[in-house]
């Protein structure tokens, strides 16, 4: 049977799990920020398309 981890090993394990989880959250936050920027880029492009559409309606040219 696998020996039971020592008290110190268990404590280190808990710490490592927390560190890994925190690092994950940090990475995901950065990626969420990138997603937001991408969304804004995407929205800007759509804004431009809309403006172009309206200009066509108003002026007959894009």
């Amino acid at each position: 049977m696998e020996p039971k981890p020592t008290k110190e090993e268990l404590e280190a394990m808990a710490r490592e799990i927390r560190v890994a989880a925190d690092e994950y959250v940090r990475e995901m936050r950065v990626l969420r920020a990138k997603r937001r920027r991408l969304f804004e880029t995407w929205a800007n492009i759509l804004d431009g398309k809309k403006a172009e559409q309206v200009r066509k309606q108003i002026y007959g040219v894009s």
């Binding site: 799990i17 969304f39 492009i45 200009r55």
Partner: protein
């Protein structure tokens, strides 16, 4: 703290990364329970930051946005395609981060199972003396309230009035030691730049101005022609003065009046028919209807054109949200030269649309082309754009924002105005705000001394004042002023026409 291998992040990402994750206080519990709780917390965070959920949320946002604009099909597909590569990278990174976490958790799976099967073998740790006493045993995980956690200051590296100390903040919060990120370098540039440039100290004033302009812009919007004509009529009947009306049409075809606000996106284009209608409806006191390629200047001109009494009149009726003593919200007057050097209409000019400004007075109509530049400004503009485009920072910024050469070039045209105005415009226009994030363009502006030459020759922009005088002068004076002004325009390469109204019986 960011790990040393962290790649350069833009400000937003850096702030996100450095934002505190709620710290957990380990109250006395057995080591086995510590592992279990850490595992449970990790699972909870996995659920909270699930890549699939982020994807679904973004999809929902996109659908909602497209629906609000009434766009579909090809336009959406093009926008999707534009971000597809980068989004794919983000997804991969998210999946990779999750896989990395899962791998770590799996590493301990055996030990965790063993712990679960055998129960606690070790005693709980002693609680630290300062900790709160436990209420019901060892399995409570408390969190420190967020208020109690010292919050890292957000680096203000992109603010115009950044003090040198913000550089320290940026460096401290990045935790990267000698390895400087892009934004740290930018922060340094800013600090150096600002130390010798007092204009940056006007930041707050500029912000307030923009805020007021935008508020004004919103309040003065007309939803249709009739509403605007009603207002003109009211003024004609009740106003104590002859005054300017500034109106135009935004990208969405809405009429706007006193359309202020830097970067509001308003394209002011007069519809002479509206003015004619006003006239035929007996609005004889309509003195000056003025459209302008730049909405901001429009507001500025309202300020310039109105006396204190007149502004008070408008202010009292909620027609103008600028205080009667408008001087305190005016900028330096640099706006004046924007009058016909302004650039938004160049975008339309580029599209082959000739734009003309129209100013209607009680005596006639002024028309002038707006899609041109003063030759001196044009030369300077070309030099500066070339200077910027050759810079490596610019290349990096362009690449980071996924802009094509043409798109980046167009954005550069926007910055060919005084730096305080550039900042205001860019940062209040969603389209450019995002594009400029992380780009140290102020340096370019200042270094190139944009507009200096022209600002020194303010006299050539006295024509606004001339217009005001025209409205108040005798017929002879008006004629002389008109001639003087049209001559002046011609000398400066500006096409300008004055067309008197025919007298009505």
């Amino acid at each position: 703290m960011a790990s040393p291998e962290t790649p350069s992040l833009n400000t937003e990402e850096a702030v996100e990364r450095e934002a505190p994750i709620l710290e957990r206080v380990e109250h006395p519990r057995t080591p086995e329970r510590q592992v279990e709780r850490a595992l449970a917390d990790a699972e909870s965070l996995k659920a909270e930051y699930d890549p699939g959920a982020a994807d679904a949320e973004m999809s929902r946002d996109q659908s909602g946005y497209a629906a609000r604009l009434g766009m579909s099909g090809e336009a959406i597909a093009e926008a999707d395609a534009a971000i597809a590569d980068e989004l794919s990278t983000v997804r991969q990174e998210e999946t990779g981060a999750l896989a990395k976490l899962n791998a770590k958790l799996r590493k301990y799976a055996g030990a965790v199972a063993l712990v679960a099967a055998t129960g606690s073998a070790y005693a709980a740790e002693e609680a630290p003396a300062e900790s709160a006493p436990m209420v019901d045993g060892s399995d409570i995980v408390e969190t420190i309230s967020e208020d109690a956690i010292p919050k890292p200051e957000i680096p203000k590296v992109f603010q115009m009035n950044t003090s040198p100390s913000s550089l320290d903040v940026a460096e401290a919060s990045s935790g990267k030691g000698n390895q400087e990120s892009f934004f740290q370098e930018v922060a340094k540039d800013h600090a150096q730049e600002q130390s010798g440039n007092e204009r940056f100290l006007e930041q707050q004033k500029a912000d307030e101005y923009v805020e007021r302009m935008q508020k004004d812009f919103e309040q003065m919007e007309f939803s249709n022609e009739e509403e605007m004509l009603d207002f003109l009529r009211e003024i004609a009947e009740n106003g104590p003065f002859e005054f300017f009306v500034v109106y135009g049409m935004d990208d969405f075809g809405h009429l706007k009046k006193f359309s202020g606000g830097f970067g509001s996106g308003t394209r002011v284009e007069t519809d002479p028919k509206i003015l004619q209608d006003a006239k035929t409806q007996g609005i004889t006191k309509l003195t000056l209807a003025h459209t302008h390629p730049n909405a901001t200047v429009g507001s500025q001109e309202v300020q310039n054109a109105f006396s204190t009494e007149e502004r008070q009149w408008l202010y009292d009726r909620g027609r103008m949200d600028m205080p009667p003593s408008g001087a305190d919200v005016r900028m330096t007057g640099e706006l004046d030269w924007m009058d016909y050097y302004d650039d938004p209409m160049k975008f339309e000019g580029r599209d082959g649309v000739e734009t003309r400004g129209v100013v209607v007075t009680s005596d006639g109509v002024w028309r002038y082309r707006t899609d041109f530049f003063h030759p001196a400004m044009e030369r300077q503009r070309a030099e500066v754009i070339r200077f910027i485009e050759e810079d490596s920072d610019f290349q990096e910024w362009k690449s980071k924002n996924g802009l094509s050469d043409d798109e980046a070039h167009d954005i550069l045209r926007i910055v060919q105005v005084p730096d305080n105005l550039v900042r205001a415009r860019v940062l209040t226009n969603p389209k450019y705000r995002e594009a400029f994030r992380g780009f140290n363009f102020y340096n370019f502006i200042t270094n190139a001394r944009i507009g200096t030459e022209l600002n020194e020759d303010r006299s050539q922009f006295a024509w606004i004042e001339e217009q005001k005088k025209v409205a108040l002068a005798s017929p002879e004076e008006k004629t002389a002023a008109v001639e003087k002004f049209t001559d002046f325009c011609k000398k400066n390469g500006v096409e300008m026409w004055y067309i008197p109204f025919e007298k009505q019986n």
